[in-house]
Symmetry: C5
Subunit: 360 residues, 5 copies
């Protein structure tokens, strides 16, 4: 995506609040994709899959039902799901407003989770908003676009790998959360590699492009950090709070997930510190470079300016014939060799001076 | 508004405390506009509107009454309203003193909210102080100037859109608060766009005007942040506190409003980080630019200074006739071509030296 | 006051602890002024004033007595007052030691408040220490020098303006505290104006004097901040604590006073941010300025150095008569016009090069 | 190890999460060494040692058993140990995933500790992950590689030195933790010495290598700090928490260990402050150096440029024969001495000017 | 002390942990001085002094006994004292390990205090570790070297000045603590004066030595701060905690002592801010200085380079006899005056240009 396009994209997204709208109003974001609903209901023995709003009606009531909504265009579908599962209108409004701060909120009927999933698309960082509701026997997920973060969980469900089929909706919500978190690590590894390349480069050959590259990386890292940090805090609060939706075992798993978020924040902090150290190194290299040139220029000028003056002096055309005081040196026997000697001595003296002061 | 005017405006505003006044004294700010009082009283069935202090007396006692005071010139009107609704004199003093820090305070008869509403007027950021009282069945709002932040709420009331008419004064105060908060997002989007333009510019063509522009934006952002941050904290405290004026449902709505404030603070922080990154980028570009010139100057000087010296040397007028030691080179057969060759070799040697050190 | 004097003053003040003294020892500070005691006793009906220690003995026992001690020279008087009102020796020691950190401490017999009052005297910031005791029916204030911060309160007492005469000692102490706090705002407005002047100047004409002026302002602001910040915290703690000396109404007033302190801290922070932004702007202007000169120097040098070399080359005195290889150009028909053409082309080429790179 | 290798190493390690794996899956890290199991069981009277999983089965049940696992290649062995001691699968997964954040977690059957042990190998900082479980009568330790941090504890156990044999598993776990912490101090002393050498160097002879060296040290210090800081906090939480696995006496010992960690953080902070002070000093020295050269260049140029111009002027070839206005000075009697005098006066004037402005 | 010595000293001290030692082992620090034990026992009526371990045995049991141990060489003596007063082995180990972080720890038999006392010895800051135990009726102090901080307390005890003889061991421990804290203020005053001298200097004549001096002061201030800050926090915790060793009165005194520490931290922060402001001022002065030179160089070069080129041009030796196109100007009647006029006009034009841009 070109810079121009990117800027346009950002501008479009930045119409973030429909000023004056009634709180709880559902309006699809301007660039919303068509809505697709996938339903999975399961217990330890059986797993049934379906598509569309009708599938929800059919499968609701089984031990665990997971409704995965991709694309936020159809507010009717979203409203229907909201009504079926008794979701709070404010939470539902947040689902379709793609500018939420990551957070976890408890509503009477469900725990509502908004997180951001980082994705690098064509070199451009994209932080998609993903919502999740955890209620009695149901987990609802809402994504702006088709992602593959949830694919491994779906596979584990189908193949009944691990303990996921034997456990309840809370565990499923943990598994989805954890999958989304873990899916971000490869992205951070990319930044790691770019920063390490820049770090090596900065002390070898500090090019102006480094400043721009570090600026761009730093901007991305700040954005990811702003997406991860509130999530870590919200999850920590959820674990400490005594909500009855989560039993001790799920809390242990969520603690593990929070730990991954803490690791990610650590990693991001380390990367930001590295990026600012690279910036500092670049500035330092630049100063050093200016200093090197200055040094050479000063030495060359200081040596040759007096020599040049002397040669200029004896290039003057005062007429020796007009007066005996007019540049009599020009007609002496050893004038030229003497001047050359003076020049060499001057030059050597300067060099000695520079060497003694450590400039050479 | 010109710079000079702006400065004068600020100076006028800065007479912020009437030193030595009795606490609780009401004195209109020097630039106060005429006072206009608009009253709306409503319940689920009916909505009555009126104007002036008399309308308050008439409509007070209905389920919910909203008194909107615009312009703070008439302290008599304000004092009368204060007495009718039993407002604390200190709170009333704060209403007419336009230098309050955003805050939420509980008084026995009402919750008092002071917030600031950002407005860009003629390119100049204006942070108007807006006060609100929430008491039993009444909401009072005081604004310095006519703004349109409350217009949507008024419309919703009149058209009975959403749930606003069915709910109590606390919900109205939430709706007004939320409207004022949301009205600030478009302003921040303006800063977003200006910063992005500067960001692109700084790595392409770093002009001195960038430093001044970033300085101005940063100053505005700091002012908005100082207006938003205390509000977010005050609202958080209000939600956590166990005041009986707010039921669980309104708390959920206020939590949403606080969330918007948190989003705004996030956005402001992101913008300030970006603005300081642009500043750093500008400094870096400036250093790079100085370095570029230095590089060229050094290369040119280092190459030509010795060549110039040589040509100056052979421009001297030592008299070859006076002595065989006086510049005999000038009369040799290949003197000139030999010197030219020496010069070319010198210049090429320098170029090779610079290329090897990466200066070219 | 000259710089030299100022420095001497500071040095004198810096003998801050009599090392090894018995805790609770009273010794007057070296530059103490003669002690003057003014007493006001009042209730709603009556107000009596007196002077000197004897007046205390006479008036002690009335509803509220306010003893205002100015000048700390006479430790006997201070000790006598301490004994009469049963003040703790450590608190009394702090009264005469002018290096206290602002604080509020509860002793069994009284609440002890140490604050600092900023005053600008001859352009020099002076942070005088002011002590206050609030006990049962008495308020004691100790000042190093005669100030006029308390004058308005005295006037309100005499004229029985506001509610001050009807309320108890706690309200008086609030009034005095508030008067002292409000008296500092005009000083801060002075800094505001100076900073705004500097801000305009820095982007128009960055003079070295700006750096020194900003440094001086910043130093003063840091000092004021250190005086205000602990006071705000101490007052916050006092309001939250459940001391029985303060009833709910006085707490509301103290909360207002704390709010003013918070406003002041906000203002100071804004000013310090502005002052550091001005510093950064100055640095940036300086870099820009160096860059401008460098640019001109490089352009001039780069254009003229090769031209100068060429003219120097043809100023050499190789003898065309001695050899046909010695500068035959000098005798060609179009030698001079050709060289001039080469020079013009060179210069235009350089100019084109600089324009293309945006250096012109 | 070369830079290239180091980078490759880092890249390999950075495959940190098997995206989509079932939580609790055991998979050995890519560079795992063969697993070796050493068992020590003891009470006050007797100490028995063994090797391999069988030894665990044999010795489990004694008063205290310490299983030390070095090398994480054999997930079978690790799983077997996990089952025998009833370890939580998530904790066990963390053992073999070498990217954990230092932490202390309580599981029903054991306290799980992950820490990092710093080691300098070939000049390269290595932060190896070390896990420990403390349960009823057992301590399990897992290391990536053979280290000698635990050797002193083993020796104390064998020789029954100190109180270690008389006390329970909790004390053993403290002893191992403390040994690992103390083993890091010598490494920090190395940084101390390197920084002090750089500090002396920076004000004497600021070489560009200093910037790179400080950058490298700072990077290492940041990494160590990130390893130590969470450990200090986790240990503090453990001491405050009321887990029944730790009696008052062991808590005193753990407090001592936490104190060592706090000391280490203090030391690291001091070192980082020093390293940034050295960086600042280097920048300052660089600016000073550029300034020195600039000064010399300016003085030389300012003095000689006008002199050179004058000598160039009288080197012009205007034909005195063609017109009496053409450089008549050249034929005057005292033309040359007069010019020389003018030049000397000019030069002395410049020198006086520079001296007066303090540039010389 | 020379720099070299100082460095050696630091290195010796930095062998800070005997890696692998049994916790609670006593080993004297490498540079320990011979141990001297002074005992004072007293009550309101009587005071007895003695020397050596025997004196302890003799005087233990009186109302208050103070054992002052100077020099940590004899671990036997220290161990004997530890056994007599039932001190915890970990605390005793800390006494002889001179790298403790300032702290206050409660052990069953005593409160253990480690603080650092700053001393300037030969211009070199020395932060000696001082330990104190406060138990039932006893205070033990351990110092590395003879200091005179405790002398005033000893004198007050002997002369029964103040209330010290009438009060218990807790008050004695406060008196000793307070004496040690107050003894540090004169040292800080020295830094105050040095910083003020530098501050004046930096805006008048910014010498490179300033950077080094500020660096040295800043390093010392950081070290003192690290010694004072944990002490302030530990003391605050002690005052808040409900240990029964301290009655309400002693708590008031300790609060005063904590206040002094807070003052010291304020002072240190002010000094560090000032030192960094001086650094910034130095950098600014350096930039300004470079800019000044650059300005002069650019003006001189820009004016004289074209003039020099013109004079060089007419110094060329094109042969007017060979062609009418070869420098016919040289033979015109007004050639020379015309050129001089051109030069003067050029120079004046440049000067006008520079003046208009504000460079002159």
């Amino acid at each position: 995506m070109s810079k121009r396009k990117r800027k346009a994209e950002r501008r479009k997204k930045s119409t973030r609040h429909t000023v004056g709208a009634v709180p709880g109003t559902l309006s699809a974001p301007p660039d919303a994709l068509p809505t697709r609903v996938r339903v999975i209901a399961y217990d330890a023995q059986e797993l049934v899959e379906g598509e569309g709003v009708e599938a929800i009606a059919e499968l609701h009531g089984r031990r665990v039902i997971w409704v995965d909504v991709v694309g936020l265009q159809s507010t009717d579908v979203i409203r229907a799901i909201g009504e079926r599962f008794d979701l709070h209108p404010l939470a539902l409004e947040d689902v379709v407003n793609p500018h939420q701060r990551p957070k976890i909120e408890e509503y009477p009927s469900a725990i509502y989770v908004v997180k951001r999933v980082a994705r690098a698309e064509g070199g451009e960082l994209d932080l998609e908003q993903v919502s999740m509701f955890l209620g009695d026997g149901f987990v609802l997920t809402f994504q702006e676009r088709e992602g593959d973060a949830y694919e491994p969980v779906r596979a584990r469900l189908r193949e009944a790998r691990g303990r996921i089929r034997r456990l309840d909706a809370a565990y499923l919500s943990y598994a989805l959360l954890d999958a989304a978190v873990d899916a971000m690590f490869p992205l951070l590894d990319v930044y790691d590699r770019r920063l390490e390349a820049l770090e090596e480069q900065v002390f070898e050959d500090a090019q102006p492009a480094i400043a721009e590259e570090v600026h761009a990386i730093d901007r991305d890292l700040r954005r990811v950090r702003r997406a991860v940090l509130p999530m870590r805090e919200a999850l920590g609060r959820l674990i400490r709070d005594d909500t009855e939706r989560l039993d001790a075992e799920v809390r242990i798993y969520l603690r593990d997930c929070q730990d991954h978020l803490a690791q990610m924040v650590d990693l991001l902090d380390a990367q930001r510190e590295l990026s600012s150290a690279i910036s500092a190194g670049y500035q330092s290299a630049l100063s050093q470079r200016t200093n090197d040139r200055m040094n050479l220029l000063t030495i060359m000028s200081t040596i040759f300016i007096p020599l040049g003056f002397l040669s200029g002096l004896y290039g003057m055309n005062f007429d020796p014939g007009a007066s005996p005081y007019n540049m009599p040196e020009l007609s002496t026997r050893y004038g030229y060799p003497a001047l050359l000697t003076v020049m060499v001595v001057l030059a050597l003296g300067m060099l000695a001076f520079f060497r003694r002061r450590g400039w050479l």
